[in-house]
């Protein structure tokens, strides 16, 4: 069974390269944009999956980190675009258009936010955890809407995509390559993490917290660490998403986004390495194809999602590759 999932994972990644390459050769740049969207939202889902799949922490507030990542990009790039420093005291901080710097800032700040939100939220569990994470994301959402300095509800447009040394990020296929490489590196990291003692303990804490405590590990700290890592990855995805659209807005903090990330994870298969990527790919393809059929396309989307929950238990990967989750 594990074998089949590995083959499937390989096929999914190959497919995710093959489609944009085909689109590139046949002059369909928009398909490349779609594939980039899959990679970026898949990455956000991979982040969520660490908390949700491995750690069993159902967060309905991951949009908070996604948005922080997005705004890290928006704020830095807008200051660089207008040649206005972020602040001059106590030390001079300038904006930047360099992707690696922006990514680092996005990761650090979403990690800090995850530390704070996680430290408070992990005192609760179950439905309370779902709702308190939602509450924090909603706070940020309303804050972003009514904070006039960075565009409020209008958001901020960054007219030229940020730069990466040695590449032309404006070329869709090169930007796709960046996101794809980041996705693969994160997946590799995730696979290592899940098999590490930390990952094993985390999964064990999900199934039976007392047993973990009995061997002297504090499940709270374990979960907090997982939540922070999860938030950092989703924050990085937020920065990339902002660069994909060259635009940030408070909708990146919205609860619909948190909901969609959860949908990606479940659709693909909770706790599966590539589950979120498969989920994002299916969701975005459906959105694209169904939208052409009817103005009321969301009805069909709803019916399909229902079908997945009711019939295809364990997500699409479970249906194809079998039930046993590889790292359980």
């Amino acid at each position: 069974m594990m074998r089949r999932e590995q083959i499937l994972n390989g096929a999914v990644l190959l497919g995710l390269i093959a489609v944009p390459l085909w689109a590139w050769s046949s002059g369909e740049p928009f398909i490349i944009t779609l594939a980039t969207k899959v990679a970026v939202l898949g990455l956000a889902g991979v982040g969520l999956n660490i908390a949700l799949g491995t750690g069993g922490l159902v967060s309905l507030g991951h949009a908070a980190f996604f948005g922080i990542g997005g705004y890290a990009m928006g704020i830095l790039a807008s200051h660089a675009q207008q040649y206005v420093p972020l602040f001059e005291w106590p030390l001079l901080v300038e904006g930047t258009k360099s992707m690696p710097v922006i990514w680092l800032v996005a990761i650090v700040f979403s990690g800090l936010a995850a530390l704070l939100i996680g430290a408070l939220s992990l005192r609760t569990s179950g439905v309370y955890f779902i709702m308190i994470t939602l509450a924090f994301a909603q706070m940020l959402y309303y804050f972003a809407i009514s904070w006039p300095a960075y565009g409020g509800e209008d958001g901020m447009a960054i007219y030229v995509r940020n730069s990466f040394p040695g590449l032309n990020t404006l070329d869709p296929i090169q930007f796709f390559a960046i996101t794809f490489v980041i996705l693969c590196m994160t997946l590799w990291f995730n696979a290592r993490l899940v098999r590490s003692p930390f990952g094993t303990a985390l999964a064990a804490a999900r199934q039976n917290a007392e047993r973990v405590e009995a061997v002297g590990i504090d499940p709270y700290k374990l979960r907090l660490a997982a939540f922070v890592i999860s938030g950092m990855i989703t924050g990085l995805a937020g920065a990339l998403f902002a660069d994909l659209n060259r635009f940030v807005s408070p909708t990146m903090f919205g609860w619909h986004l948190s909901g969609e990330l959860i949908v990606f994870v479940i659709l693909g298969g909770t706790g599966r390495l590539l589950g979120p990527v498969v989920g994002a790919a299916i969701f975005i393809t459906l959105e694209h194809v169904l939208g052409g059929i009817s103005e009321y396309w969301q009805i069909f989307l709803g019916v399909l999602l229902l079908g997945v929950v009711l019939v295809a238990r364990g997500g699409v990967i479970a249906v194809i590759a079998g039930k046993g989750v590889a790292h359980d």
Partner: protein
Amino acid sequence: MTIILLIEQVLNGLQFGVMLFLMAAGLTLVFGVMGLINLAHGSLYMVGAFAAAAVAGATGSFLLAMAAALGAAAIAGVIVEMLVIRRLYDRDHLDQVLATFALILIFSEGTRWIFGSFPLYLNIPPYLSGPITLPGDIQYPLYRLVIIGVGLLVAAGLFLLISRTRLGIRIRAGESDREMIAALGVNISVLYTIVFALGAALAGLAGALVGAIQSVQVGMGEPVLILAFVVIVIGGIGSITGALVGSLLVGLTDTLGRTLLPVLFGTFMEASAATTVGAAIASMLIYILMAVVLIFRPTGLYGAR
């Protein structure tokens, strides 16, 4: 800010809270008895409002419209329960969130498909419209007092239902021990359908009552749904008392926050900045309230330990 205005704002907060209670009661009941998170509860609220608007438009009778709202939401609840929700009881919360999220999409766009994209008309009947004068010369809309009254009646009815009737005994038994009541020969699946329909009917009633003073449009249920979740989480999930207390807390916090905060900030800030900053913090206030409650009481005010 005068005392009269403050009293009026407290009344407004109460009315908002009571309206939230109608939503939250159904949500918390369904969670308490069946362990189900129902994101589509807001859709049932919308169904109630649209049914009321359609019937009021056709017959001109407000009471018939209210009855239609109750009926339509209950029927929608039964159908959804039998087709979908029933299969979710033994699933984890994740599957429930996804499935009911899908239901929101179906309900919202389905409603738009049937009723079109423009808001519908539903208004207060003449005999309930206009303000009345309360002691202290407070002018207050009669209809809002009616909402407070209906909400408190429903609350009392629910407490009686749960503490005094056979159905209530079964509901309480279902909350504490599911296998037990099955062993006692109670038809669990019928009980669940009834509880779900009851919650749906309450949501539909709330939608219709509120629809008369708000906008009846697609998507109207979602903001209320989030508020209702905030309420039941603050109150403690599964507790009707908690839902009542939580509703009033949220209603009062939100209403008083958005009127008092700008004034408060105005005492030490320049006026127009105080208005925007005050409004910004006010819009975050109930989420701050919820986070604070959960940090100190991780299962809400009346939640089971």
